[in-house]
C-alpha cells in the first residue's frame, strides 16, 4: 500500500501528538494528591465519598454536609469503587476530552498545524500541574467536563450535513457531561443558557443541511436529551438526600430556609452598609436580644479582628465578610445543638426568620426588603464594585494565577488521611521535594511565564476575532468552528458577568474559578482566529 502525502502528514501529526502526551505524562509523573483538611472543600468531598461507599449516604448530618453539590463526591466514590486513582481519572479525562475536541477540529477542516499547536497548548496548560490540579476539588473535573461538552457541541455542529449517521453518540456524550456538570458546581446552571443557544444554532444549521423532519428531531434531541438526563439525575439525588436526611435539599445555602433566613437578617438596617457584610455585629447583637433562640448562635460566632481571614483576604476587618460569616452561622447553630438534623435545621432557621420578620413588622427592627434569595438583588450603587470585580475576573480569565509554591503539609487527622487514601487511592503523599526540587518541577516552573504571556496575547486576539466574526457574520456565515467559538465566547462572557455579580457580595474569587473557561478558551482560540481570518479574506475577495 502506498502512503500518500496527506496520510504521511496525518501519521506525523499522530506521532507528534503521542510524543506530546508522553512528554506531559513524564512531566507530571511526580505529582501526587494533596491531602488537606478543608471542611468545606477537599475533605468534605472525600468524607462524603467515603461514607457513600460505606453505605452511609453522605455520612452523619452536620452543618457542612450539603454545603456543596454532591457531584464531586459521586465521582470520587465511583472512581474509588472502580479502583481508579483520583489523579489518574482526572488526567485521563483531561487528555480524552482534549483528543475528542481535536478530532472535532480536524473534522471541521481546521489546519493540522493549528490543531497541533492548540493540542500542545491544551496539554501543557500550567493549570494541570499547579497545586489546585492535585487537590481533591471540583475545578479540574469541571474543566475536563466543559471541554468534553464543547467537543460534543463541535462534533454535532460540524457533522451536520457532512455525516450520514445521526450524531447520537455525541448527543449522548453531551447529555452525560452536561448532566454531571450540573450537579458539580452551583454556577453551572448557566450552562442551560448555553444549551439553549446551542439548540438554536443546531436548528439554524440543520434547517439548511437536513430535511425538515430530521432537523426537528435533531434539535429536540440536543435539547431534550441533556435536559431530561439532568432532571432525572437531579431528581434521583434529591430523592436520595430526602430518604437519608429527611428533606430533598441538595445545596442548603441556596435552597430551603437558610437563604430566606439570610435575606431576613440582611434586611435589618444597621449603621454598617457594606456589600460584603450581610450579618454585621450590630445586627447580630440586636438579633441576640430580640430573637432569643438565635442567642446561642451569636454567642458562638468568632469575633472580627485584624488577624482574621476576612481581614487578611477580603480587607473586612471590623466585621466578618460573607465569605466566612455565612458558614460560621450554620456551623455555630449546629455546634449549639440547634440543628441536629436537616429538618430540624430547616425548622430552626424558619423560626429565626419568622422572629426577625415579626420584629420588623412590629417596628422593633428597622427593615428594608433585600430580596429573598441567597444573594441580594443588584443595585446601581454597587456599579463600581461590579466593574471592579468584572475587571479582576477578566484579568484572571486572560491569565489566571496558578499556585505552584509548596504551602507545606497540613496536619491532617489520621482518620481523614485514611479516608483520602481509601478514596483517592493514593498511597504516595505529595512531598516538598517532588514539588520544588525535582527536574520536572523545574521544567514546569520555567514554562509557566512564557506560556501565560503567549496565551494572554492569544486570548486578547481571540476577543478581537470574536467581535470581527460577529461583525462580518452576515457576509460570511458562521462555520461550525465559528459557531463553537461564538458559543464558547458567549458562555465565557455570561459566566464573567454572573460571577462578577456574585463576587460583589461574596468577595473576590480565587483564580481557580476560571480554570474551566480558560482551558476551553485555550483550545478553541487558535482555530477560531484562523476561521475568522479565513472568513475575513472571503469577504474581502467577494
Amino acid at each position: 500500500m502506498r502512503v500518500t502525502g496527506p496520510w504521511k502528514f496525518g501519521m506525523a501529526c499522530g506521532l507528534i501528538a503521542a510524543a506530546l502526551i508522553s512528554c506531559k505524562l513524564v512531566l507530571t509523573w511526580d505529582l501526587a494528591v494533596r491531602v488537606l483538611l478543608s471542611p468545606h472543600d477537599d475533605s468534605l468531598y472525600v468524607e462524603r465519598a467515603f461514607h457513600l461507599i460505606s453505605g452511609e449516604a453522605f455520612g452523619p448530618y452536620d452543618s457542612r454536609i450539603l454545603a456543596k453539590y454532591p457531584g464531586m463526591s459521586l465521582w470520587l466514590a465511583t472512581t474509588s469503587v472502580l479502583g481508579i486513582p483520583f489523579l489518574v481519572s482526572v488526567n485521563t479525562i483531561h487528555i480524552a476530552a482534549g483528543l475528542y475536541f481535536v478530532v472535532a477540529l480536524l473534522k471541521a477542516g481546521v489546519s493540522r498545524w493549528v490543531v497541533l499547536i492548540s493540542s500542545a497548548l491544551y496539554l501543557f496548560n500550567p493549570i494541570t500541574y499547579g497545586n489546585e490540579w492535585v487537590r481533591v476539588i471540583r475545578e479540574p473535573l469541571d474543566t475536563c467536563l466543559l471541554v468534553a461538552m464543547f467537543a460534543a457541541f463541535a462534533h454535532i455542529l460540524v457533522g451536520l450535513g457532512k455525516e450520514r449517521r445521526p450524531p447520537w453518540a455525541h448527543v449522548a456524550v453531551l447529555a452525560v457531561s452536561f448532566a454531571f456538570s450540573m450537579m458539580l458546581r452551583e454556577e453551572n446552571r448557566l450552562l442551560w443558557g448555553v444549551l439553549g443557544l446551542f439548540a438554536l444554532m443546531v436548528a439554524w444549521q440543520a434547517r439548511m443541511a437536513l430535511s425538515k423532519r430530521r432537523a426537528i428531531i435533531l434539535t429536540v434531541a440536543v435539547l431534550a436529551a441533556p435536559g431530561a438526563l439532568t432532571k432525572v439525575y437531579e431528581y434521583s439525588l434529591r430523592r436520595f438526600v430526602g430518604e437519608h436526611y429527611g428533606q430533598p435539599i441538595l445545596h442548603d445555602f441556596s435552597e430551603g430556609e437558610y437563604p430566606r433566613f439570610l435575606a431576613a437578617m440582611r434586611s435589618i438596617q444597621t449603621a454598617k452598609d457594606n456589600r460584603l457584610v450581610m450579618a454585621p455585629q450590630e445586627a447580630l447583637q440586636k438579633l441576640r436580644l430580640e430573637v432569643p433562640i438565635f442567642a446561642p448562635v451569636v454567642d458562638r460566632l468568632p469575633p472580627p479582628g485584624r488577624t482574621t481571614y476576612s481581614c487578611q483576604l477580603h480587607g473586612v476587618c471590623s466585621e466578618w465578610s460573607n465569605g466566612w460569616m455565612l458558614y460560621w452561622i450554620k456551623d455555630s447553630a449546629f455546634a449549639a445543638g440547634l440543628t441536629p438534623t436537616l429538618p430540624a435545621a430547616q425548622d430552626y432557621f424558619r423560626r429565626v426568620r419568622i422572629g426577625i420578620e415579626s420584629a420588623c413588622a412590629t417596628g422593633r427592627f428597622r427593615c428594608v426588603d433585600e430580596g429573598e434569595a441567597f444573594l441580594p438583588p443588584m443595585e446601581l450603587r454597587w456599579t463600581r464594585a461590579y466593574v471592579a470585580e468584572g475587571f479582576r475576573l477578566a484579568r484572571m480569565t486572560l491569565a489566571p494565577e496558578i499556585n505552584f509554591r509548596w504551602l507545606g503539609g497540613s496536619d491532617v487527622p489520621e482518620e481523614v488521611a485514611r479516608e483520602y487514601r481509601a478514596i483517592t487511592l493514593t498511597e504516595r503523599p505529595a512531598t516538598q521535594s517532588s514539588a520544588l526540587d525535582a527536574a520536572p518541577a523545574r521544567f514546569r516552573d520555567a514554562m509557566v511565564r512564557p506560556y501565560q504571556a503567549f496565551v494572554a496575547l492569544l486570548l486578547a486576539a481571540t476577543l478581537v476575532a470574536f467581535a470581527v466574526r460577529l461583525w462580518i457574520a452576515d457576509r460570511a456565515p458562521l462555520s461550525g468552528i465559528g459557531l463553537i467559538g461564538v458559543l464558547a465566547g458567549s458562555y465565557v462572557l455570561l459566566r464573567l458577568a454572573a460571577l462578577s455579580y456574585v463576587a460583589v457580595f461574596l468577595g473576590p474569587f480565587v483564580s481557580r474559578v476560571v480554570f474551566a473557561t480558560y482551558t476551553l478558551s485555550v483550545i478553541i482560540a487558535l482555530p477560531f482566529i484562523a476561521d475568522t481570518v479565513s472568513a475575513w479574506r472571503k469577504t474581502q475577495n467577494s
Binding site: R275, Q285, R288, L301
Partner: protein, 251 residues
C-alpha cells in the same frame, strides 16, 4: 479552645457596652418604692474597687473599653471632652458632675434630634456595696412611670446579659496590667495616661488598616461610571446595530 475564643469574643462585645449602655438603660429600670426613679443593680467584681477613681472620668472608661476590644459603640466613634469627664456616643452624652462618699453623680443626656434639644437627667452610681460585689445605679427619670412592665422586664434581661462576669474580668485584667497595682492619686493620673497612650498605639494600627473594603459608595459618586457603561454597553452596540441595518437596507 476555639469555642472559648468565640465565647470570649461575643462577651467582649456585649460587655463593651456595660458602662455606657448601663447608664443609657438606666431610665428604663424600675426603682422599687419610688416611681420616678429607675434602679439598676449590677453584680460587680470587687477588684474594681481599686479603680473607682476612674468613675470621675467616664471618657477614660469609654477609651479603656475600646482598648480592651470591648467597643461601647459598634458604629460610632466616642467623643471625649473636658479631660475625660464627658463622653458622647451619637446622641447620648454622659458627664461626671460630682462625688459624695461612695456615690458618683452624672448628668446623662439624650439628644432629641431636633437642633440641639436634649433631655437630661441625673444618674447616681453607688459603690458602697462594691466590696460585697454589688453596684447600684439610679437614674431619676421623670417619665419612668410610663414604662410598661413588659418593657422593664425586657431591659432587666438585657442588662443581665450585658454585665457578665467574663467581660468584667477582662476589663479588670486590662487595668491590672496597665496599673501594676498602683492606687495613689499621682499613679491614677499615670493610669489614665497609660490608657490614652495605649489607645494612641492602637489607633496607629487602625489608620494602617483603613476602612473596610466593600463600604457603600454614594450613587452620586458613580454617575460618571454609570454613564460611561451605558454609552459603551448600550448606546455603542445599539449604534452599531442601527448602522448595520441601514447599510443592509441601502444594499
Amino acid at each position: 479552645m476555639a469555642q472559648d475564643t468565640k465565647l470570649v469574643g461575643v462577651k467582649k462585645t456585649i460587655a463593651a457596652q456595660w458602662v455606657l449602655l448601663g447608664c443609657l438603660l438606666l431610665p428604663s429600670l424600675a426603682f422599687p418604692g419610688a416611681e420616678s426613679e429607675l434602679r439598676f443593680e449590677i453584680a460587680t467584681l470587687p477588684g474594681f474597687e481599686r479603680y473607682a477613681a476612674l468613675l470621675e472620668h467616664p471618657g477614660y472608661i469609654g477609651v479603656l473599653l475600646e482598648n480592651a476590644d470591648l467597643r461601647p459603640s459598634l458604629s460610632t466613634k466616642l467623643i471625649v471632652r473636658d479631660g475625660g469627664r464627658e463622653v458622647q456616643a451619637k446622641g447620648l452624652i454622659i458627664r461626671f458632675s460630682g462625688k459624695s462618699a461612695a456615690s458618683y453623680t452624672y448628668e446623662a443626656g439624650v439628644s432629641l434630634g431636633i437642633g440641639k434639644t436634649s433631655v437630661t437627667f441625673p444618674v447616681v452610681v453607688d459603690l458602697s456595696g462594691l466590696a460585697a460585689g454589688k453596684t447600684i445605679v439610679v437614674a431619676k427619670l421623670p417619665l419612668a412611670t410610663l414604662l410598661s412592665d413588659e418593657k422593664r422586664k425586657r431591659i432587666q434581661t438585657k442588662v443581665g446579659m450585658l454585665a457578665n462576669a467574663d467581660a468584667q474580668q477582662k476589663i479588670l485584667d486590662y487595668l491590672d496590667a496597665l496599673a501594676k497595682g498602683t492606687d495613689s492619686d499621682a499613679e491614677q493620673a499615670t493610669l489614665r495616661e497609660a490608657i490614652l497612650v495605649d489607645a494612641y498605639n492602637r489607633s496607629a494600627g487602625l489608620a494602617m488598616a483603613g476602612p473596610d473594603v466593600g463600604e457603600a459608595v454614594p450613587l452620586s459618586e458613580q454617575w460618571m461610571l454609570i454613564l460611561t457603561l451605558a454609552i459603551w454597553l448600550i448606546l455603542f452596540p445599539a449604534g452599531l446595530l442601527i448602522y448595520r441595518l441601514r447599510r443592509r437596507r441601502t444594499r
